[in-house]
Chain length 479, copies 2
């Protein structure tokens, strides 16, 4: 009984992402209980609808009455988060049908992902009851819906950096969702809507993809997929969405070892990576190697204007790093063409030391300590037609060691942010996270200033050009 892609489905998904009330079932007074943690996650995240904790011990928690039985809740419930042990889930879904609940998300595991007959049968039964009663299921074995604008969150997120943004995610793994949301926030990636969907016994990746394709708040989509439930439909949805929104896929279980692990994680039968490469080629979706790469790409699409060519202008510090920067660029299909004599002439005027290279890469070793010179140099390159985008390599170690002026990097970063405001060329920065605790502290401060100014930050040249390669390819195809 596979559902199609109908407008009623769309309304169902719309309801799921906008529940007016949430019940968390399986809340005990034990601090370590998952139910309690889910409840607190929602409260800390500022969920604005009605919240109903349910737990057989009863009592009160954080000013809320704990209902001993689900059906004791006196008001309507839209969305249920289930933290009960697997054997108790059938009764809950049955109760949800009786109460007219719209959807249930199962944190509970112990279903088809175990590979055992009992678990598979239980999941099947769960779905039967839900389908008969018109209740939609998310999971089981997942963390559920993330929608910061509604204060709806997955388990144990840290609310302080959560902000709404253009990125939607559809992630089969809960742990990966947590990493995406948390690391993403610190790197300047902000989310419209997302879901950790686990075993996908009812709503699956195609349903969510279809929904995010039509969601006005979502401009960029990331998927983490171990196995697909409806292959042909997924292909259709992907083909449609990748044309209108940059869509990237991390395929979990793309090797024999990985697919064995995936089988015991979400019970997925993972396909060969060659098939996934073909799927992405045909649909225009972007295949990434790991979560880091996906985030790097999300940052590019969140912050950068379209890049219209492959000629890089590099502003670096130190000759050796510049050589390697140029090597990295070319390894990923970019060129680093020497600047025109006119541009070199202008740069020469801004370079205090004779002999520093200004061909491209620019060795800004000395001018980087003078924010005025530095931003003038950036402006010269911004007006130059011979390069398509700029990379500023902020070498923390070299700059800190050699300047002995702790504020010089801050000023350089301010100059970059200032420049960005009025610039016409896309610009990315490379800022490494290495070294002592003090060095890392400085890295984070500079990173946050750059992000606040809308400037993408990558932790290595390799990661920057790897992301830019896919980003530029996307714009080469989608002009």
């Amino acid at each position: 009984m596979v559902r199609g892609n109908s407008s009623s489905d769309k309304q169902e998904l719309e309801n799921i992402f906008h529940p007016r009330s949430v019940a968390v079932v399986g809340v005990s007074l034990d601090e370590a209980s998952w139910g309690q943690r889910y409840l607190f996650s929602l409260m800390e995240f500022g969920y604005r609808g009605d919240l109903f904790p349910v737990g057989r011990q009863g009592g009160d928690i954080a000013g809320l009455k704990i209902y001993e039985k689900f059906l004791d809740i006196p008001r309507p419930v839209d969305y249920v988060i289930c933290c009960l042990p697997a054997p108790l889930t059938l009764q809950l879904v049955s109760d949800c049908v009786d109460k007219g609940v719209k959807s249930v998300q199962f944190f509970t595991s112990g279903f088809s992902e175990t590979g055992e007959e009992d678990g598979i049968a239980l999941e099947k039964k769960l779905l039967e009851i839900a389908r008969r009663g018109g209740v939609r299921l998310i999971g089981p074995n997942c963390l559920g819906i993330y929608h910061p604008a509604q204060g709806l969150t997955i388990l144990n997120t840290v609310p302080h950096m959560a902000r709404s943004g253009p990125v939607g995610f559809i992630f089969q793994s809960g742990g990966n969702s947590q990493e995406l949301v948390e690391i993403g926030a610190s790197r300047g990636i902000h989310f419209s809507k997302g879901v950790s969907y686990g075993n996908a016994c009812d709503l699956n990746e195609s349903d969510f993809l279809n929904y995010l394709a039509g969601d006005a708040d979502t401009g960029i989509i990331g998927l983490y997929i171990e196995g697909v439930k409806q292959g042909k439909r997924f292909f259709r949805e992907l083909e449609r969405v990748a044309k209108i929104k940059p869509t990237m896929i991390l395929k979990g279980g793309r090797t024999i070892s990985g697919s064995q692990a995936a089988a015991s994680h979400t019970g997925s039968l993972a396909g060969a990576i060659s098939i996934w490469r073909a799927i992405c080629r045909q649909t225009g979706a972007m295949l990434v190697d790991d979560l880091d790469e996906m985030m790097d790409l999300m940052i590019a699409f969140s912050y950068l204007k379209p890049v219209r060519g492959r000629r890089a202008g590099i502003v670096g510090v130190s000759g050796g790093r510049s050589v390697q920067a140029a090597d990295s660029c070319e390894s990923y299909g970019f060129s680093v063409p020497p600047f025109s004599p006119e541009v070199r002439e202008k740069l020469l005027e801004l370079t205090p030391r004779e002999g520093a290279s200004i061909r491209n890469p620019v060795d800004s070793y000395l001018m980087s300590w003078d924010p005025v010179l530095f931003s003038q140099a950036l402006k010269v390159l911004d007006g130059y037609e011979g390069v398509d985008f700029l990379v500023v390599d902020i070498s923390l170690v070299i700059s800190v060691l050699n300047s002995r002026r702790s504020d010089s990097l801050e000023k350089q970063v301010e100059a970059i942010v200032d420049f960005k405001t009025g610039s016409s060329k896309p610009l990315v920065t490379v800022l490494s996270f290495d070294g002592t605790e003090d060095m890392l502290k400085l890295s984070v401060e500079l990173q946050q200033k750059l992000i606040a100014g809308g400037v993408p930050v990558y932790s290595s040249m390799k990661r920057a050009v790897c992301a830019l390669d896919k980003f530029v390819s996307y714009h080469e195809v989608n002009r």
Copy 2:
């Protein structure tokens, strides 16, 4: 006039790395002057021989008399660091000949790397005077000798983490040397001897390679090379050294863009990367892509016992990360074979939650919070013949978010260090540097504990398996 590899050369190099006295020429009272910085670098680093600052203004600095003229120094000088402008270098070398100086290192640039006739001629003349007078030259356009056991250091290093260790380096770039030394120290890489050698007008990569090959303190060698001066000799030296010491090469200028940058950096004519691949294949040296990869590999060779096979045992947190960990392993030629029924039985006893995967990867999500269970699980795997090495994936975000016990990760790390002491299997850890400032602070603390316990730390699974791939290949060939 190319020199061979004679025993007199060896003694010369020995002298260069053990100078009984050092003169820094070009010291002014201006804080920003390079000469002054060099002087302070040596003092802070605890150089134990005589130190003579030379600067035409004279005066005193940090309790030392500044000699107005080099020849005014009343005692013998072994090693000279030259920070004079290029036009003044000829007279200095001539004075060095008169004074019987053993070697001169030129921080000064403006020679052949400019590509201009004047610079090329000046460098040639410098060498002529030096050769006639038996003075060896390092550079020009470089940072010189690094030898922590002697308190001899390159420019502006931070002394607090410097410790002697097994790694020697021969780096054409000064900035790269600084990064290697500084980032290396924070990652647990310690150095025997090293050199930043720039334009290599006299002593070149082959001389230093020959010296480090015979140096008892050096067990691992890293080279950053833009261009080679004596191709055939270099190949011979490399062939000889790579057989007895793990030797890794980062080739700067391996693309057209990179080699153009290299030409204006050290005046090097960079060779095609295909040639370098062939050289490494034939000699057994390891070619790396960037400085990060080189450091990852240095860590493996510094800390790990030889790995005798390609079967990984992975201990991770969260199913999704484990799937990707297995994928990464297999992408780099490792397998992640399911554990035997006996091992699974034992692991099952240690896993508090039913259903957590214990096939390989082990989902240690719950047991990681209990250091006793965690180290017992590690011991089970240590005794198991079915895997050759262990990877522990410490997911900071997932662990911190879900445990809410700030000390659990510290205990997990202590368990790993405890385990390492009595273990028979090589073990590496993955610990990311991402997230908020607090998260990074915790990462650094955990990283330092692991390093102090002799456990290698990598910032991503990809980087760990990339280094392990080359490390295992090395031991496959050199049994």
